[in-house]
Symmetry: C2
Subunit: 240 residues, 2 copies
Amino acid sequence: MMAVARGNETARAEAMPWVTRLSALAPLSAAEIEDLERCKPDRTLPSHRDIALQREAAGPLRLVISGWAATIREFRDGRRQILGLLLPGEIVNPHGQRTPSNLATTIALTEIALAIAPSARGDSALGRAYQVSANLQDAYLLSQITRLGRMDAYERLADLLLELRDRAALAGLARGDSFPLPLTQDLIGDTLGLTSVHVNRTLQLMRREGILDLRSGRATLLQPEKLAAATDYRPATSLL
Amino acid sequence: MMAVARGNETARAEAMPWVTRLSALAPLSAAEIEDLERCKPDRTLPSHRDIALQREAAGPLRLVISGWAATIREFRDGRRQILGLLLPGEIVNPHGQRTPSNLATTIALTEIALAIAPSARGDSALGRAYQVSANLQDAYLLSQITRLGRMDAYERLADLLLELRDRAALAGLARGDSFPLPLTQDLIGDTLGLTSVHVNRTLQLMRREGILDLRSGRATLLQPEKLAAATDYRPATSLL
DNA sequence: CGCGTTATTGACGTGTTTCAAGATCTGTGG
DNA sequence: CCACAGATCTTGAAACACGTCAATAACGCG
C-alpha cells in the first residue's frame, strides 16, 4: 500500500513539474500545494511565438506549465544570443520586472503553456520558494557568463548538459541522468555562443567517447563524472 | 548667483556619486536626498580584498561610495571570469540575496568604500530608485552575456566602453565622453573573456583609428559614434 | 633610484568559423 | 503507406580570430 501511495505521488509529480520544483525549493504547506495543483494554463503558445507578456508593471508571476522557452537578444545582422533557457516548472519573470524588448525578448522554443502563479506573501513558505527560485535563476545567468567567457566548446557543452540535467531533475522531469532536451543544435549554438557546425562536431566527439547519448529530443549522460571533470561543474542547487 | 548655485550643486554631486545616481533613477524627495547625503562609509577596503559581505540574510543594501569592485568566478586552473563590475554609486547586492562563494565572490578592484544604504519602503521614491537600480544592474548582466557570446574582440571592447561611459555618467563621474577607468588590461580581459595580450592589440587598433584615448586610469571616447556603429550598442538606460 | 606591475610587440599554434555539399529526419498530403 | 519538402544534422577543406609563449619596454610607487 505504501508502495502504491508513493507510486501515485510520483506520477502526479511528474505531471506537474511546477509543483515538484517549488516543493523542492521550500517545504510547502498542504494548502499551498493544493493551490499550485489547481493552476491551469491561461495561455498556450505555439513554438517560435514571442511570449509578449503584457505591459502590466509588476504583474503576477508566471509559471511554465509545460514546454521550453528562451530569453534572447538579436543583432541587426541576424546574429542572436540566448541569454537563458526556461524549463517546465520555472518562473518566467523571476523579479517581476519587464525587460524592454530591445534588450531581450522571450520566445517559445516548443509549444508552451503558461499559468499565473498563486500569489504569496514574502514570509510564507511559497513566498520563500519563489525567492529561492529567483536566486537559482540568477545563478543560471552567472553560469552562462562563465561558460561564454572562459570555457572552450567542449567545456561549455558539458557544463550546460549538467546544468540542464539538474534543472530537469529539480522539476521531476529527469529519469536518472536522462532528460528531455528539445533543442536543435542551432539553438544550442545560440545558447553557447558557438556555430551549430561546431556544436555538432563537439557532440559527435562526446558520442564517440561514450559520454553522451542525444537523440530525438532526449539527452542521456552516460558518464556524468567525466562531464563534471571536464568542466569544474558547480551545481547552482548548492543554493538550497 | 544662479551660476554659483549650480556650481555648488555640481560640485556636491560629483563628490557623491550615489546621490547623483539614485536621484537620476527616480525623483527623490528632499528628505531622501538628505538621508543619502548623510551616508558615511562604514567599511573601507584596500584593492584586491574580498568584499565578504557578512552572513546577514536579507541584510540592508550596500552602496559603493567610492572605488570599483567586480563580481568574479575563478576556476581551479586559474582562469577567471569577471561576471560584472561595480562602479561608484551602484548597489552591491541589488536583490539582497547572498550568492554562495563557490558561485561568485566580489572583490575590490581599487580601494573601495561602502556604506549601508538608507532603508526605504517599496512605494517610496527611494524604493523605486532601488528597484530601477536593480533592473539596470540586471540589464548589465544580460549585456555581458551577449558581449561574450556573440561579439568579436573589437565589438566587445566598444560595447563595454560605451556601457561604462553611460554608467559613469549616470553617477556624475563622466566629463562628456571621458570617464575614470581604473582597470588593467588583464582585468578588461577577464571581463571580456579575452587575453590581456589581445585586449592590448585591440586597444592599439582603436587608438590608431583615433577612436579612443586610454591612459593613466582614464578613458576618453574620441568618436563614440564609431564605437556605437561597430557594436549595435543598446543603452540599458532605456529602462528609465 | 630601483623593483614589481603593467603594457607592448613578434612569431607561431590552434580552436572555431565559414562555406558548401550531402545525408538524414519529420511531418504532411496524396 | 509512400512520396515529397523543409528542416535538421553531418562532414570536409580552407580561412581567420584569438591564444600562447616569450622577450622587452614603460610605468608607478616606496
